[in-house]
Symmetry: C3
């Protein structure tokens, strides 16, 4: 466990030379630890700060990974017991396949770096992020305009957690009727190609970034990507057998465990404190403000959704309130770095209203999205982009003056940028994921047989039940 630090490299020499010498970057974590001479800490304040930045973003990434059990429990809880193991399996494999696919292919596409386009950089992959395991903290580097405190491995770790989150949004929307093999294909393609391409547009310094589009933590890049892929999946695969009667009227297919689903919502709430504050990408005094605003948006979204469901459904609906919390969190991702408390509360509250109406509306037009994935992530992700256009107090890139008030009083330029960005993401993801799901469908890899659907995917796709006979009250239900 204890690996003694070897001294002697010196503060400015920690850098790239040693790495190129061994070809693809350091051969092991220990090489990197050795490169920083911590016994020279006297006189090395900058190193302290850079290490803090990297440790903080690592811990933020861990919190983002905590969203995986959160998503898994939400989706399992809101669907039927006979498909519960299948949902958990899909989420675990999203994580496994997502991390590997993003490492080998996606990462190079998302962050083209010094290359001029994304196509040629796929080869970066795994090798790429082991170059850059150190940060140059020489005085010259520190005062340069483009000093960036994060080493590549921590950057990758944080981004891989985001990719896995984007992928896992879809599994709930296609729950209860999808072949496992088809889902694996989808999961690999979205983390290897679809999500990274969208990311490259903004965080990879692509055309949306140049246009002035703002998406701090991914209302658009992460949540709309997951949400519109979910919509494409739900539409291509069609509703569950029992969902609509012959007149097309929706039947309620309540989840098998609201306690698990709401525990998942609360874990997602926790995970979001890695997602949003960590997107600051360094440890600074903006982090706690972002955290407070994140909590505000969640609270406003949950409260507004409760009230909205009370009005429209005549009772305060539990899963709607939970989805409202998530809707507020999704919507605030985009603007949380540029909004006041007032803009944040408005963003979250509107999201809470919108998500309830969207869930009811989606069902009315005949689309079966068992957990409301598109309404939460797609619709409220888009709303978050627009809210940034409405409420951001500054619009630095469009050249508007900084607002002195709580809400933005500037021109329509930013709003238009946000609208264009949102439409571009929606169209691209819907088309790409739609093509993918149509391809899987025509290959016979998408939908299970009606008999298997009735029997449940746990038994038919995985060979053993998600709940034992000691717990499962009724082995087969619609």
């Amino acid at each position: 466990m204890r690996s003694k630090v070897v001294a002697g490299v010196g503060l400015t020499g920690l850098v790239w030379a040693a790495l190129t010498a061994i070809g693809i970057g350091p051969a092991s974590a220990q090489d990197v630890a050795d490169a920083y001479d911590r016994s020279a800490a006297v006189g090395a304040e900058a190193m302290n700060m850079v290490v803090l930045d990297n440790i903080f973003i690592f811990l933020s990434g861990v919190l983002v990974f905590l969203m995986q059990p959160g998503f898994a429990l939400v989706e399992a809880g809101l669907t039927r017991a006979k498909n519960a193991a299948n949902i958990m399996m899909k989420n675990i494999m999203d994580l496994c396949i997502g991390v590997l696919a993003f490492a080998v292919i996606g990462w190079g596409i998302a962050y083209p770096g010094t290359f001029n386009g994304w196509v040629g950089t796929a080869g970066l992959g795994i090798a790429g992020f082991f170059e850059g395991a150190l940060v140059d903290i020489s005085p010259e580097a520190l005062v340069s305009d483009d000093f960036y405190p994060l080493a590549v491995p921590v950057d990758f770790f944080f981004q891989a957690a985001f990719a896995a989150a984007a992928a896992t949004i879809v599994s709930g929307a296609v729950a209860g009727r999808t072949k496992f093999i088809g889902y694996l294909c989808y999961s690999a393609v979205i983390t290897a190609f679809i999500y990274p391409i969208v990311v490259s547009w903004k965080w990879g310094a692509g055309w949306l970034d140049e246009a002035g589009f703002i998406d701090f933590a991914g209302s658009g890049l992460v949540h709309m990507t997951g949400g519109f892929a979910a919509l494409a999946g739900a539409m291509v695969i069609g509703p569950r057998i029992a969902k609509f009667d012959n007149d097309g009227k929706a039947r309620a297919l309540p989840g098998h465990s609201i306690p698990l689903a709401m525990a998942g919502v609360l874990l997602l709430f926790i995970g979001w404190f890695g997602f949003n504050p960590g997107s600051q990408l360094q440890a600074d005094m903006a982090v706690p403000i972002i955290a407070v605003l994140t909590a505000f948006a969640a609270a406003a979204g949950g409260s507004a959704a409760m009230v909205t469901s009370w009005i429209t459904m005549r009772k305060p609906d539990v899963s709607m309130a939970g989805n409202g919390v998530l809707a507020g969190l999704v919507a605030i991702c985009s603007g949380v770095g540029e909004m006041s408390w007032l803009g944040t509360l408005l963003t979250g509250a509107v999201a809470g209203v919108v998500v309830v109406l969207a869930v009811l509306g989606i069902e009315r037009i005949g689309i079966d999205d068992p957990v409301g994935a598109f309404s939460v992530h797609g619709v409220c992700g888009f709303w978050g982009l627009l809210a940034t256009g409405l409420f951001a107090t500054t619009s630095p890139i469009n050249g508007a003056e900084e607002s002195a008030g709580l809400l933005y009083g500037g021109g329509a330029g930013l709003f238009l940028d946000q609208l264009v960005g949102g439409v571009a993401i929606a169209v691209f993801v819907f088309a790409a994921a739609g093509a993918l799901f149509l391809g899987l469908k025509s290959a016979g890899l998408l939908r299970v047989s009606p008999e298997h659907e009735m029997a449940g995917l746990d038994l038919t796709e995985h060979g053993s039940p998600g709940y034992g006979p000691d717990i499962l009250a009724a082995a087969t239900t619609v």
Copy 2:
């Protein structure tokens, strides 16, 4: 995601001037990030330390928020399946409403700051904590006697997590028979007024603080507040229909899922490592000692409760052991900063014994507290205050000499302070919460009809079941 830092403000000029210029503090998180010139990190060791303090307390606050799924699972697991969604909903809305009510009203009451009393400062609210987003780290500030490293947003974030925890303690005690609308009213009032008033007495530098009362992390301020509000609620609302037979003898109404409840206990255990070590309010070398003592108290409490239940109930009871872990954690909050390992083990072990006896005794006198909220948080919170009086190795404010031993050998002054503080909190909270619940009762907002109680609150209050028919073995049970 990446927001480049703009240089040029300078270390001593980061402060209040810029904030007042925009009226209510910085307009956005980004303004704050910009104010710290991180490229000037060379020569800025103090900034490193202050940023570490703020990041650490932010992460501690995240751990405290992790207590929300912990409480939710404990309470849901220990009550009936037909009310499980209702319990989860109450906990989620505690969080939503608690954060907002504490922001708008409670925060200003709890921490009156430069004002002389709390009444006039409610207006601070949301606007208040966005002033103070930066910390003055000029050399003069650093060496001043009242240097305080935390920026106001991180302070608020941490305290808001505490307020939500205090509120959520009650939901288990009134489980299975409370109208949802009445619970919402309670939740808003305790986080807006009752809890903040108690906090102002000590952490807001009020009369208990001046008297020398010690409550490091809130055995009294947080847990007794939740616990005595729970007692008032359980007494005013009365027992569940099926709880006592005609002779007044208690019937066992076992929880529907011990696995969920104990998973909740373990999550609370984790969350306590934010609650106690974070209460040090800075990143220093006392933090790990506090963590070790916190684990000791939990271990002693769980072990002692197991033994006690083995003796009194003839079997080692699972939920008693879980409550013993929580009892030890509750009791050590007060004195963890001033106790040795011996005092800690004694505090935790006694709490483990006391909680079992309290749960059995409360039931015997006809009070129905389904999850033991009053016994864990009220009784063991009080015990924690007294234990500090007995075991604290120093009594700095009362002028006693520092003890050279493992336990305090000084006078009775501190014990009396702790007793007075505990009685004051108990009386005030019980009276205030009792009045609130009586008011709700007389307005017809407190208790559901017997028919609704028998059918379960999930269906009658929220319109859909907490468990699907595929899981629920018996739709209606007592």
Copy 3:
């Protein structure tokens, strides 16, 4: 909560003098906080770094403790509903008893420190780790060859979390048939003696450390210890009544809740980001690399186990995929500090294949390990040790040249060291735990009666059911 820092001690005087003056180290956490003069932070970069190290390892320890709900849910979910409360209780008491036993006895054995052998140092125990609450950060200390940044309390906290993890591995292997009192005896002995003796061999600078054995985060020391104790337990206690038919053919006894089990797997995945990166024992730039490699191993293990189960069992098995994730994580612990990404992927993928074959093979030879504890922790822990011998890019202690490639091209010396270490751990733990379980058996403390086994341990050992009648579909099942 707020404890003002008292100035005046000075940076080099923070050390041991004050501690010896009060006999057994500082009397309280507050004494320690006071000793560091934070207002002297100007000019104290080294203190910043040391505090960051200690805070980071504290937070890593919290993540390791998060493995406790993870283990509890995996084990409960994979066994029967009638024993679910018993499993949760065993895991909670592992934590309680484990922390206390490791504090009083185990810690002194594991880390003999300046003593020459481990026998005489058991007395260190609790008193021992409160000495050393501060770190000497004088310039002389910082540049000394054996500078170690962690204060003893944080070191203990982190190690105690490991001890509790090692203990809890066994509870699943003996699930459904073990007397609770017997399990408590086991839990105390493994955390007080068996695990600490093994730890002393390597992390306590014992004979394996001198031999050049590599075990960065405990594939051998932690997981093989838990895994081989599990094997001994499962063999001594014998299979569950219903497990094998008269011909010795295994019957499937599926777990009662795959969703709970897989949520546990995901929590363990999160906890591992404390386990492995925290084992670096300081906050440095190797931490994120270790995190990335940890995620890679999990992903490779989960993917490979899914494929292997698909081939051998004709369906992609959910619990096998979950066990594959854990197998990859267990296997990478040993070499994660010395491996490239390629070695890591190979280590994880082989573990995923091996765990499926081991689970099937163990069952075939008539051993009933309900959750696969030996296969995951024992077999894949051993594989992890050997993989380090095969794939480590450096072999610093054996004098091999540093490899310039992705895999180790050196001699067989390291592989032999790893093999010897693994065999030693396996033999010692299997013998010691076997003797313990045989002793418990002969004392009549090990196995419950067949009637109790059929009725379930929740009722017979703890007096109340783990699930209420509203959830339990069939009160008694095999």
